[in-house]
Amino acid sequence: MVREGKLSWLTHDLTHRGVTAWLLTVLLTGFYLVLYYTEVFTSVARAIGLDSKWTFYGLVYTSAIVVGGIFVLRKYRHNRYQVVRTSVVMFVQAVFAFSIPAILKFFHQPEYYFSYFWPLKFDDFVPGTIFHLPLVYILYSFLGSLLLVPVLGIFFGKRWYCSWVCGCGGLANTAGDPLRHLTSKSSAAWKFEKIAIHTVLTVCVALTALLFVTWGVGNRAPALARFTSGFQTFYAFLVVAMLSGVVGAGLYPIGGTRIWCRNFCPMAALLGLVQKFGRFRITVKDNMCISCGLCSKYCEMGIDVRSYAQANQSFTRASCVGCGLCAEVCPRGVLRLENVRRRHPQELALVQISPARGGSRVAI
């Protein structure tokens, strides 16, 4: 039941797909379209002394994370995991994703984002771009993407990146926090997620391979070069502009905060696969769940956490970004995020839990 008062009505409406939520969605998607395809924000940027619309966008984005982060720090101040994680994500955004690139640019250095890696930041792996950079950047980019990302993923799960470092996750977990419950928990949405995200990953890997081949072949195959460049433009339009920007952030008030991360992000897909074989898991306390459903409701990745908890089944889902909110909202302290040394092989099996153990996950 909604609390009385106009302010409560507004908050409720905004966070429950009401009229204001739809209005905000129109506004946000409009913002992204204007940003990408017009120069309106170039003049805005100039007017406030910034060099380009992208710096302006970076400033808006970072402010959203910092302001939202302050609210989140207050809201979950009793939970140290949330406090530490939120502080880190705010810090990374403000320093690595905003200040350092801006400073580099100011000193006419290559504008490099140290908090992004392939396959999320495609350019840092494209031979045509990266090999023009100084050696440190080349090393950082290759070692970071091929070594750091998966190794940390093995030890800590994908959370080290998706909910501690990444800017997309950062926005979701700060400014987006009041909208986190909107993500669909249906099994149909889960099915879609698995197909969509692995498709994007496959396309992304194929494109990367193609870029290397094209670069290796050089001028000898102009047709190939044309095809690759077309492919790259298509990817940049569909995946980067549409799915991560317009759809991913624009639809927050309707579809929840992790539409991009859950369904389309190639980095999340890759880390998800790593996570399945790594140490991270959500441990479920035996027979303590009261099936209230708060954990599922507030899962931004649409994981039906309750279905595991009420079946007494500790689990590792590829999509889990380890934000820890399920453990935070659980009124019975049933859930805990852990990096365990050894795991039960059963946890890797996707579903099929016998109803006789009190649960009733049915084969999906």
């Binding site: 039941m1 909604v2 609390r3 009385e4 409720h12 009793h78 939970n79 140290r80 995991y81 949330q82 406090v83 530490v84 249906s186 099994s187 306390k285 035996d286 027979n287 303590m288 009261i290 099936s291 209230c292 459903g293 708060l294 599922s296 409701k297 309750r306 279905s307 009420q310 820890g324 453990a327 935070e328 009124p331 019975r332 302290g333 805990r336 995020l337 016998s354 109803p355 006789a356 009190g358 009733s360 049915v362």
Partner: protein, 429 residues
């Protein structure tokens, strides 16, 4: 085989799914008057506080029931004929069964205070979806509320009303909050916490009369102490009672005392009729008991289904454990709690700087119960230690293993250990 289950709560639903897992061909029908689908009663408060929709309370996707071929009937059962093996529904329909499970749960206990009967508006309970609807209906026209009953449902209702900005007076009969499970020290922590949320919690107050306005709406209560508390909404949460009254007047009633009497394999006194969950009363250590908690209902539902399938089942309640949350304070307890048993020793330690505490009770050299407040613990460790009859020394030394707090937030066990050392061998000064 044709199975029929009355009640789609956790006991009934767990039973239905257990039956289906074992008998792919059986016909399974589940009847309930309260809701179309199984929902989580334990989360009623989150619906009231706008954290969940009613649909969110459903633990299974709706299509699960169709997929598992469990026929759902939304109706009240009004008659049971165990000789004909038929049920009659309120709509007039008859349903035949071969094996029947009664899983009718419980209802809010009602007392006959003067004035209560004639109250037309403003009196609420907090157990069923109807109760919730009633609460939501009277909330906007309420500015002051009184809640009576010092248990878990009471404090949940209080939290909801405080959330909605009502001025809440919370009356409990005992001198301190929830003496059934909490000692005075823990109760003090909780009382202070509840009061900090603006709730006027009063101990040793018992309702004497419900005061009504001219229109029949509640306008207050008078306590036995003579004090009067004005309110437009009176929440009665003095416990729950098995929902068995309707069964007393059917054609062939089963044996009923407080609940439906069952054997250790959940058989009632009627042939081919079993009972499980909140509504069942069974013998434990020579006493008749009803277990009205979620975990028991779930376990009983599963075991009763197995008994119906012909398995040999002997229900023995495991070591008691429970958990709760008082506004923000989490609570876990395992083993014998409440009044410390004869000849026992109790170690209690308030964790510095937190609304948290540890209580361990030992009898004849073995730990028999723990009560933990304000931090997270894995009760399965306590269960094991109690079963293994571990000493208090052992439990304190291994307490770390049972910690279940979120990362970076573990409670300082060192403080507990220091306090324990001091308690064991107090240094005289």
């Amino acid at each position: 085989m044709r199975y029929v289950i009355i009640g789609n709560g956790v006991a009934g639903t767990t039973a239905a799914l257990t039956l289906r897992a074992r008998e792919p061909e059986a016909e399974i029908t589940m009847i309930s008057g309260e809701s179309d689908y199984f929902f989580s009663r334990t989360a009623l408060m989150y619906a009231y506080m706008d954290r969940m929709t009613l649909r969110d309370l459903e633990p299974h996707e709706r299509k699960v029931f169709a997929k598992q071929r469990i026929d759902l009937v939304r109706d009240w059962v009004v008659d049971l004929d165990a000789t004909e093996r038929t049920l009659r529904l309120k709509s007039g329909k008859t349903i035949a069964y071969e094996r029947l499970l009664l899983a009718t749960g419980s209802l809010g206990t009602r007392l006959d205070w003067p004035g209560l009967q004639s109250a037309k508006e403003g009196v609420v309970h907090f157990v069923t979806l109807d109760d919730l609807a009633q609460c939501e209906r009277v909330t906007p026209s309420t500015s002051e509320a009184v809640v009576v009953g010092g248990g878990l449902i009471g404090v949940e209702l209080v939290e909801c009303l405080a959330f909605h900005g009502k001025k809440v007076t919370y009356l409990v009969r005992s001198p301190w909050y929830w003496p059934g499970a909490l000692a005075m020290e823990e109760s003090e922590i909780i009382t202070e916490h509840i009061r900090r949320h603006g709730v006027d919690l009063r101990g040793t107050e018992e309702v004497d009369e419900v005061l009504l306005g001219a229109d029949g709406r509640v306008r207050g209560v008078r306590a036995k102490s003579g004090a009067e508390f004005g309110c437009q909404m009176l929440g009665i949460a003095i416990g729950v009672s098995p929902a068995v009254d309707w069964l007393r007047t059917v054609k062939t009633p089963p044996k009923i005392e407080r609940g439906i009497r069952v054997s250790p394999s959940f058989e009632t006194s009627l042939p081919a009729v079993w009972a499980a969950g909140d509504c069942a009363e069974f013998a434990q250590d020579g006493e008749w008991v009803v277990e009205q908690i979620w975990y028991s209902a779930k376990r009983q539902g599963e075991l009763a289904a197995r008994a119906m399938l012909g398995d040999r089942v002997r229900y023995e309640p495991p070591i008691f454990y429970n958990s709760a949350k008082f506004f923000e304070i989490e609570y876990t307890s395992t083993g014998s709690i409440g009044k410390p048993p004869e000849g026992s020793r109790t170690f209690f330690c308030r964790i510095p700087g937190k609304e948290a505490s540890v209580r361990i009770v030992e009898q004849n050299g073995a730990v028999v119960g723990v009560n933990m407040l304000g931090a997270r613990w894995d009760h399965t460790f306590f269960e094991r230690w109690i079963t293994e009859r571990r000493s208090m020394d052992y439990v304190v030394n291994h307490l770390r293993e049972a910690q279940f707090d979120v990362e970076f937030a573990r409670v300082e066990i060192a403080a507990v250990e220091a306090s324990y050392k001091q308690w064991r061998s107090p240094v005289s000064s």
